[in-house]
């Protein structure tokens, strides 16, 4: 039965690819552009994917006897002992896809990952690269989340993109040189084919059983994002944004590649789970780098720390073998600093994909794509892939890397939130909010709130895709108007959109009613997940007081978040209409668009039900790497340079019990901040105690700074883009002038030598030859005069000759 899990998930993964092939090669461009079939195929594929994912989840649940939801002690009281029970050690020893039945001794079978190989790409001796699968509860959650949200968004897009269902689409934002609008055939089928390709890539990324495969799909979601951002190819802004997105992602991927190189060289494998080569099974990366307690096995070798990698081939065979070579291979180690490099490298990929500081600038520009794309690719799934990978690859990250991650997240969440406050384009506000929320997730994972960060990933996916779709509904309702200053009062025109949006706004702000009914907090999903992150950050702060900013900034930003989200909602849906024309023509969207809104609103509200005791959180917790819940103590490197068992760390990580003990406190703080932000937005934009425009004038410098997005685009243009073009021009010049110049010099010199040679040849050599010839000729010619043909004359010559011979003889040889 267990095999069915990966078979179902693989089917769910490949279905959209099939859909893509049919949609793009099915000839839908030939006849009329009014055919909805390709879109329906896309919806069917991804919908079937959702059904298959749920089926896989049910099989997984029943095979593990639903152990994941079984009553457990309250999370704070989990004895540290239990953490020892981890996937890694047993997984290493067992057959790849074998899962022990959940008997008394194996209560935690649901914590194990199922992994195996689908097919091998290449083998080089002991090295193997393959397409694998790796399924644990996190994979299942991601699969269900991605397919569900994608299905909703596909259905929404049926309506949203319907103006492409025409043979002559007029693009009002693309102009020819003559100033006319561009007329083109509709590209409905193409849009859905790209969406299907994206779903395939995204699911492949989640299913991936090795980090190389993650990289493959990482790039593929990147190219899908490129295609979708640049969907309106006629618009220069769109194609530029698409280029920017892909190239900035490549910058991150450059780091990712470096991380891969280090891992490949020192681990000799990319596999997350155990890997089979020939008839030999080897542990995957996680089992190699972490011991059963989840610690790094650090030793001091010749003055520098190295990390011992467990269970390499020879060790598994016979550790004490006399074979010298085996003994050598058993000692697989990686210098500590290179493990840090590997972690930072992979994290650089996450920075690019999740638009974290300093690569955050592509995401707002990516809003050039159609709104369903923004909802699916640029908020719910692809950009969250960076966070997903940070979570998935957590065991390889050393505490130093995690600290970097926290600070990157911390900077990002603040920076993006401040820009969101001044943005007026409804989609851009949401884009900055996405960046900010992704920063929260990174921060959460960085401060050892593994499950908290991923918890927020899932909840955010629901409420942010909801809000993007709502904004799409608004944009369609207002006939492609995106500027909030021209909206206002729309809740009367489009109530479903407005109130589903409000659900999302409350969820993201983290508002809740501060008491419990029937043991459950009255709160939407965002409250639970953000609460979990803030609590972890607070516990981290208690443990490492130096890093107090990691708690303070997210707390303050929680207030800013509530402020700008409510600002958006009030601005758009409340007050008096600011543009009468737009308001008069505004309308509620058709049911095909509002229905997904309602579904997503339900999930945005309720997906995290039960908070940290609820099913979603428990599912995530089941995949948590070993040792996270135990935490660690800060090590002063001057006291103990090489710690024995806890890891080499400048920071201590909070244990779950510690987090739990500050949970209520953190929750209160966060709630106060959020409420303050919401109230402030209410005062400014509804009650209008002060005119926001007045504030804008008061702090004009700051306002411009924020409007200019902290000048990152300018900076990068000056620091990178222009220098690259200049270097390129310089090298092309070098090629043309220097290298070819040298060549031409040689060529010209040869020609010159040749011409001298010719001169010498013609003047000297030929001259001599000619001279001889000429002289002979001339002599001959002059002698012609004597050739008279008269016999008497000849006889006279002969006589004269003989006579002169005799004379000569007498002169020279006298006797």
């Amino acid at each position: 039965m267990l095999d069915w899990i990966w078979i179902l998930l693989t089917a769910a993964w490949l279905l959209p690819l099939l859909g893509f092939a049919v949609e793009v090669f099915g000839g839908y461009w030939q006849q009329s552009r009014r055919d909805r079939t390709p879109a329906l195929i896309a919806v069917a594929c991804i919908g079937a994917g959702f059904v298959l994912s749920v089926a896989a989840f049910i099989i997984w649940g029943s095979e593990t006897h639903w152990g994941v939801f079984a009553a457990e002690p309250e999370h704070g009281d989990v004895p540290a002992q239990q953490a020892v029970e981890d996937t890694t050690r047993e997984a290493a020893a067992e057959d790849a896809s074998e899962l022990q039945p959940a008997d008394a001794g194996q209560q935690h079978s649901y914590r194990k990952a199922i992994s195996g190989t689908i097919y091998t790409l290449a083998r080089f001796g002991d090295l193997k690269l393959s397409i694998d699968y790796y399924v644990d509860s996190l994979t299942l959650v991601m699969f269900m989340m991605v397919t569900l949200i994608a299905t909703c968004i596909h259905i929404f897009a049926l309506g949203y993109m319907s103006d492409e269902l025409t043979d002559e689409y007029v693009d009002h934002q693309a102009h020819t040189a003559g100033g006319d609008h561009v007329h083109r055939p509709g590209r409905y089928y193409l849009f859905f084919s790209y969406m299907s390709l994206f779903c395939f890539s995204m699911l492949g990324l989640v299913l991936a059983g090795n980090i190389f495969q993650v990289f493959i799909f990482w790039e593929l979601v990147g190219i899908c994002s490129y295609l979708l951002i640049g969907f309106y190819v006629e618009r220069h802004s769109a194609s530029t944004a698409a280029n920017k997105a892909f190239i900035m992602n490549r910058v991150g991927d450059f780091g990712f590649l470096i991380g891969l190189m280090v891992i490949w060289t020192y681990f000799g494998t990319f596999s997350l789970g155990p890997e089979t080569i020939g008839d030999e099974t080897r542990p995957g990366i996680f089992a190699m780098v972490r011991n059963a307690e989840g610690g790094l096995d650090i030793r001091n070798e010749s003055g520098s720390p190295v990390v011992h990698l467990n269970g390499s081939v020879a060790e598994a065979d016979d550790a004490g073998a006399a074979d010298g070579e085996a003994a050598v291979t058993a000692e697989r180690t990686i210098p500590y600093w290179l493990l840090v490099v590997a972690g930072l490298g992979v994290f650089a990929g996450c920075i690019g994909k999740s638009a974290q500081f300093p690569l955050q600038t592509w995401l707002p520009d990516a809003m050039e794509g159609p709104t369903p794309v923004s909802a699916l690719v640029h908020s719910a799934t692809m950009v969250a892939a960076g966070v997903y990978l940070a979570g998935r690859f957590y065991p390889v990250f050393t505490p130093d890397v995690l600290l970097v991650m926290s600070y990157v997240g911390c900077i990002t969440l603040f920076l993006a939130a401040t820009i969101a406050v001044v943005a007026t384009d409804i989609k851009r506000v949401l884009a900055y909010s996405t960046i900010s929320q992704l920063g929260y997730m990174m921060l959460g994972i960085g401060v050892a709130g593994w499950a908290a960060g991923l918890f927020h990933l899932i909840t955010h996916a629901f409420f942010k895709s909801l809000m993007f779709l709502c904004s799409g509904s608004v944009i369609i309702g207002c006939h492609h108007e995106q500027e909030m200053p021209r909206m206002g009062g729309l809740r009367r025109k489009m109530p479903i959109t407005a109130y589903t949006m409000l659900v999302g706004v409350i969820a993201i702000s983290g508002l809740a009613i501060p008491f419990t009914i029937l043991g459950m907090k009255l709160a939407f999903s965002g409250y639970h997940s953000k609460d979990a992150i803030v609590a972890t950050a607070l516990a981290f702060n208690y443990k490492n007081p130096v890093h107090f900013l990691l708690f303070l900034v997210p707390l303050v930003t929680a207030g800013i978040t509530a402020f700008y989200m409510f600002r958006l909602w009030f601005y758009t849906f409340c007050g008096e209409p600011r543009d009468r024309h737009i308001y008069d023509h505004a309308h509620e969207s058709p049911r095909v668009m509002t229905l997904p809104l309602i579904v997503l609103a339900v999930f945005a509200a309720g997906v995290a039900v039960g908070g940290e005791g609820g099913p979603l959180y428990r599912m995530l917790l089941a995949s948590e790497p070993a040792g996270v819940d135990v935490g660690s103590e800060a090590i002063d490197p001057t006291v103990a340079f090489i710690p024995e068992d806890v890891g080499y760390a400048l920071v201590g990580q909070p244990a779950r019990a510690e987090i739990h003990s500050v949970h209520a406190q953190a929750g209160a703080f966060a709630l106060i901040a959020a409420a303050a932000g919401a109230v402030l937005a209410f005062l400014l934009y509804v009650v209008r105690v002060v005119d926001p425009g007045e504030i804008k004038r008061q702090v004009g410098g700051l306002y411009r700074f924020l409007i200019e997005k902290w000048h990152f685009d300018t900076l990068y243009d000056v620091a990178f883009v222009r220098p690259v073009h200049r270097v390129a021009a310089a090298l092309a010049w070098f090629d043309r002038v220097v290298i070819d110049g040298i060549l031409h010099w040689f060529a010209n010199t040869s020609v010159r030598i040749a011409s001298w040679d010719r001169k010498v040849d013609e003047g000297l050599v030929d001259g001599l030859v000619n001279l001889v010839g000429n002289v002979t000729f001339r002599v001959g010619r002059s002698l012609r005069a004597v050739q008279t043909g008269q016999l008497r004359q000849y006889i006279m010559f002969i006589a004269l000759g003989v006579l002169s011979l005799f004379v000569l003889q007498f002169i020279f040889f006298p006797r």
Partner: protein, 538 residues
């Protein structure tokens, strides 16, 4: 079987002779005949797969008596020159690539209207030369085919080329000839050097025998290094790597489209093939000593080519520089010769196979890119990147296929370019982290210049150049060529083992024997040093 090898090489020649009997005016029949010849050659080369045993690393097919070659016929026995052919997992993929690209290039030759018969004859002779290079196992024969290939190429560029065709043709010819001469010197060094190692005291041109001598530590390190440098420069011109690459942009820009396809798709591979087949096996010690320089040159070429490509405004020149960049990976992959305690030679083997895969992948993607440039050039007769735009709207099918092929060049996963590049880069860290990082840096620049090109040519609101009315949809023949190339790019990108399985055994053996050759040469040098020391002390 022995006949098959000769038939593959000389089928195009026979076709060329056949064309002589055609009437000068019978253009269409001649084209179809030539096409049929390339099809036959391709099918014949597919025939090599039938007896090929992927598990056997040696040259195939085996003759009896331990002679590991398909055909051995005396040619000039006084000088120990033999007509010696055979193939293994290293040359087989390239042979297939050659006959495949020739077939597609022939299909792309329909637009040639000037002196068609002469063109077709030279084209077929060129194919003979190329196939001969990949099948020859006698150094002299190899050299002969190498030169045979040169002349038709010279005329094909010089007669059917663009405005500066004479300049380009001469540049190409002289560059390659300079390389050939260096190769000739090295060849003679080995020929005369081999006499003291062969059983009968006869010198030999047999590449396998020379490789065997080197494996056992023959040819002293000094000579190996000198010969290696000569051979390397000869082959590096062909690859081409910085600083021997400037013939390439000119030759490509001036050459007609099908010739550009062959030039990029096949001819450049001969440089890489020569290094793998001749330079490394004959001078393992020299190669090991020079390896760092090779990787450095390769890594530098990657970056240099990418930057230079970014600055071009001529579409074809841009693609030409992208070749310099992509072929840099080949050099890096070949040379990452590091003896690592853990991985053994596995990483090097990976680099080597990555390099060979990259050659195939580049053969497909660059031929495709040149073809795509040719399609639009045939219509509007200009290649100025700043005067395109909006082709996606005017020629959607063409733009879609072109995007796919350019993505293959960009190294997108799922397409062939990715596998070669990434495997090379992954194997390179084990050799030199710094150079690996430089090589990996190419991914950003490549994305930059390819996407920027796509934006300037295919995207945008409207076409900005002359002859907009000429932008008609692709014809069936063009769709076929582009479609086939894209399909192969996808198939190889998704199922790279199709190629790796062919290469695996041979490469593993090659890597092992090189390793042995280096160790043997080292041991011998140590012996000599010990003897000298002893004598001096005495």
């Amino acid at each position: 079987m022995a006949l098959l090898l000769s038939a593959i090489i000389f089928a195009p020649t026979i076709g060329a002779i056949l064309l002589l009997f055609f009437d000068r005016k019978a253009i269409e029949p001649m084209r179809y005949t030539a096409l049929a010849v390339t099809v036959v050659t391709f099918l014949l080369s597919l025939g090599l797969l039938v007896p090929f045993d992927t598990a056997m690393p040696d040259i195939q097919p085996n003759g009896e008596g331990g002679i590991q070659a398909g055909i051995v016929v005396e040619w000039i026995p006084d000088w120990e020159i033999f007509y010696r052919l055979g193939y293994d997992g290293i040359s087989l993929p390239l042979i297939l690539l050659t006959s495949f690209i020739s077939l597609l290039a022939m299909l792309a030759s329909w637009n040639i209207t000037k002196q068609v018969r002469g063109y077709l004859i030279l084209f077929l002779l060129l194919e003979t030369g190329m196939l001969g290079v990949f099948l020859a196992l006698d150094f002299f024969l190899f050299y002969v085919f190498w030169e045979v290939m040169l002349l038709p190429m010279y005329f094909l560029i010089g007669i059917w080329g663009g405005p500066r065709k004479e300049y380009a043709a001469i540049k190409f010819f002289l560059y390659t000839l300079a390389g050939s001469i260096l190769m000739l010197i090295a060849m003679l060094m080995f020929y005369f050097g081999s006499a003291s190692y062969t059983p009968g005291g006869h010198p030999t041109f047999n590449l396998l025998q020379l490789g065997e001598i080197a494996r056992e530590g023959g040819f002293d390190p000094g000579m190996q290094l000198a010969a290696f440098i000569l051979l390397f420069i000869g082959f590096a011109i062909k690859i081409p790597t910085f600083p021997f690459h400037t013939w390439l942009p000119d030759a490509h820009v001036e050459a007609p489209t099908p010739i550009s396809m062959i030039l990029a798709g096949v001819l450049l591979k001969m440089g890489g093939y020569g290094i793998i087949r001749i330079a490394f096996p004959l001078c393992p010690h020299g190669a090991y000593v020079a390896a760092w320089a090779l990787v450095a040159i390769g890594a530098f070429s990657i970056i240099y080519g990418a930057f230079a490509a970014m600055a071009q405004t001529d579409f074809k020149r841009l693609v030409a520089y992208s070749s310099v960049s992509h072929m840099g990976y080949v050099l890096v992959g070949i040379a990452v010769w590091q003896i690592h305690e853990l991985g053994g030679t596995d990483y090097w083997q990976m680099g080597m196979m990555g390099a060979m895969f990259q050659m195939i992948a580049h053969g497909i993607s660059s031929a495709g890119m040149f073809f795509m440039v040719g399609v639009v050039y045939d219509r509007v007769h200009h290649r100025d990147l700043n005067r395109f735009g909006g082709l996606a709207g005017l020629m959607p099918l063409y733009s879609g296929l072109a995007a796919g092929i350019f993505f293959a060049g960009l190294g997108l996963p799922g397409l062939c370019g990715f596998i070669g590049e990434v495997f090379v880069v992954l194997s390179a860290w084990n050799y030199s982290p710094a150079l690996a990082i430089v090589a990996a840096g190419g991914v950003i620049l490549t994305a930059g210049y390819i996407l920027w090109t796509l934006q300037r040519v295919y995207l945008g609101a409207e076409y900005k150049g002359p002859h907009p009315e000429a932008l008609t949809p692709m014809v069936g023949r063009e769709i076929f060529v582009a479609g086939v190339l894209l399909v192969f790019a996808i198939v190889l990108g998704v199922f790279p083992f199709l190629m790796f399985d062919l290469m695996d055994a041979s490469t593993a053996q090659l890597v092992q024997s090189l390793e042995q050759g280096y160790q043997a040469a080292e041991a011998k040098a140590a012996d000599v040093a010990a003897v000298l020391k002893e004598r001096l002390l005495r």
